[in-house]
């Protein structure tokens, strides 16, 4: 037998769980302000998550998917992007969405059951949350195709979970992105769990990154709890994409410290000890330790930031709770560019049976 193909999957980490550098940091990380911005984004997301779960428990929003423990993946990815790039998220990527300008009010509206939550004022061209698993990979391929066709120096960044890599949409989209050498970065938030199904029952592949090899593109792993590493690896992939080098698949290794959603109870299928072990690896304490070691962070700054994030979340919650309910027309207004005549009778009925005091157009 002759070997006709070989491959290897690289792994990148810059800061270990104790906050100590494991290799020289990339240039952007030499600027404390840049790292503090990442730190702040992760703390804000975690503050938001805790509040959103409380809002769900008290019936103020519906089912909610927390990003607890995985903040570095979407914040790292979003921070590597330019405003004109497009984020194609899953449904667990609000930390990165906030970084790109989506507001917490919009996110609360979304999880609170209101389509206005996906009408982002900024960023206008980012895709909305994707609840069907992995289907968004194909959308990112289409977006990247549009950028390439129009010769725009933009890229699509797509996020999905480890479970999503089992789906056909993932393989089909990845394959097309490879054939067409598209400006696209696909990031797997490998949080080790697809609801109750652990990573090892999802695939016999040693890494999920190696799924790139079958599509003829580069695949690499990154420590998904090291936001510096996630940002750096995504930046490299984006630079390659913009230079015409084609797509990259990045597997970010992290851990879902919370339940799948507020409708889930993870104690049914995993033991507390394993979760405790993963709390020692989580991304926020890691970056805080690094910042403290380098003298850029202290107790006062931490307290001020926690206070600021709590206030910001609290203001967003107040604003969300004050948004009037949409009226019945909201079901019809945006279904088509222009409401077909065939639907006018049904809209009239919805108006007639709407609760009194409806606000009309939503």
């Amino acid at each position: 037998m002759t070997t006709v193909a070989t491959f290897e999957i690289g792994y990148t980490q810059f800061v270990d769980p104790q906050g100590a550098p494991t290799q020289p940091l990339p240039p952007f990380a030499n600027e404390p302000a840049a790292l503090i911005a990442l730190y702040r984004a992760m703390v804000l997301a975690r503050t938001f998550d805790a509040k959103a779960i409380a809002l769900q428990r008290t019936g103020k929003i519906g089912t909610f998917a927390s990003a607890l423990g995985q903040e570095a993946v979407s914040v790292g990815a979003a921070s590597a992007m330019r405003p004109e790039d497009v984020l194609v998220p899953s449904y667990r990527d609000h930390p990165g969405q906030f970084f790109r300008g989506v507001t917490m009010v919009e996110s609360l509206l979304y999880w609170g059951g209101d389509e206005r939550g996906s009408a982002f004022a900024v960023p206008r061209q980012d895709f909305a949350n994707c609840v069907p698993i992995g289907t968004q990979v194909c959308h990112a391929v289409g977006a990247a195709y549009a950028f390439k066709l129009r010769r725009e120096p933009r890229a699509a960044v797509c996020l999905l979970g480890d479970g999503g890599t089992s789906r056909g949409d993932f393989y089909e989209g990845l394959n097309m992105a490879g054939v067409w050498k598209l400006p696209m970065v696909l990031i797997i938030n490998n949080n080790q769990w697809a609801i109750s199904v652990p990573r090892e029952l999802q695939s016999a592949a040693k890494t999920l990154a190696q799924k790139a090899i079958a599509a003829g593109i580069e695949g690499r792993q990154v420590d998904g709890n090291d936001v510096i590493a996630v940002r750096h690896v995504t930046e490299e992939a984006l630079a390659k994409a913009r230079a015409g080098g084609g797509p990259t698949l990045i597997e970010a290794l992290t851990y879902r410290l919370g339940d799948h959603t507020t409708a889930d109870d993870a104690t049914r299928y995993r033991d507390a000890e394993t979760v405790r072990e993963h709390w020692l690896l989580e991304p926020i304490a890691r970056l805080r330790n690094y910042l403290a070691r380098s003298g850029a962070w202290d107790k006062d700054k931490e307290e001020a930031l926690q206070r600021e994030c709590a206030e910001q979340v609290s203001r967003a919650v107040d604003e969300f709770l004050a948004v009037p309910l949409p009226g019945p027309d909201a079901m019809f207004d945006c279904l088509y560019a222009t409401l077909p005549a065939a639907l006018e009778e049904q809209r009239a009925m919805a108006r007639r049976f709407a609760p009194q005091g409806g606000t009309g157009r939503g």
């Binding site: 069907p132 977006a143 066709l149 989209g173 394959n175 097309m176 945006c334 088509y336």
Partner: protein, 326 residues
Amino acid sequence: MAEVNLVEAVNLALAHEMARDPAVVVLGEDVGANGGVFRATVGLQARFGTERVVDTPLAEAAIAGVAVGMAVSGLRPVAEIQFSGFMYPTLDQIINHAARVRHRTRGRLSCPMVLRTPSGAGIHAPEHHSESPETLFAHVPGLRMVIPSSPARAYGLLLAAIRDPDPVIFFEPTRLYRLFKQEVEDDGEALPLDACFVLREGKDLTLVSWGAMLQETLAAADALAATGVSAEVIDVATLKPLDMAVILDSVAKTGRCVIVHEAPRTVGCGAEIAAGLAEHGLTSLLAPVQRVTGYDVVVPLPRLEHQYMPSVERIMDAAKKALEYA
């Protein structure tokens, strides 16, 4: 003006829009060098290049999903699924995404895409190549479901579909691709979507159909005319959203209605039309609405497919029932 068949009319419309609008791209299996297995896209790649006429890998779900991403990002993709029997993997992308993009983002994003596919039986094709699944798409809010029945309507409706700001599923009856020619001027004039076409006016009976079945329906109207019965013939053309007003107006005049479709009967689009007549046209009706449809069976392989498809005789039989009802 040239005489063209239906597949040539599709090709004319695609070429016209690609020349007019640089955002239009064509993608699908074998659509490039081969020009499509039915030759609907023949010549387009040579004229518009490999970037705008894209041979995709063999993956229907992704063809639909990539078209969604393209449409959301400012292109006007016209994707081809090689046969309607291979549409099923696209349902997730079409129902969960294409149909909802505008609504779920409150109009921030939209999805102006067309998914074209040959549909229907009667060409002695292998298994899975003779399906008529229009009802699956007609059920989905946010979609348009269009089926032309002639070269002229294929040209005008496909132009309209590509220009429409929302997703359109466009079924092309394979049996009509080369059945007959018509004068079609390549003038870029679109026909209206969401509108039924009255193909023939009449006063005694309304025959409602779409796609390839208009052939048998028109033949039945001829046969009825020979017996002194004046049948009005309506081509529904856009099944979703349904232009019920034209059908109701016709039945208000005739009082009798026969609906003809090739798809299986249960929950077929004929059921929706019949229900619309019951809801809004009951006092006009002089007889129960008749349906002539494919049977509720798996589309047969070629040896039996012509017994499955509604025939002129079956339409005449239903017309007789409607006409003789006291």
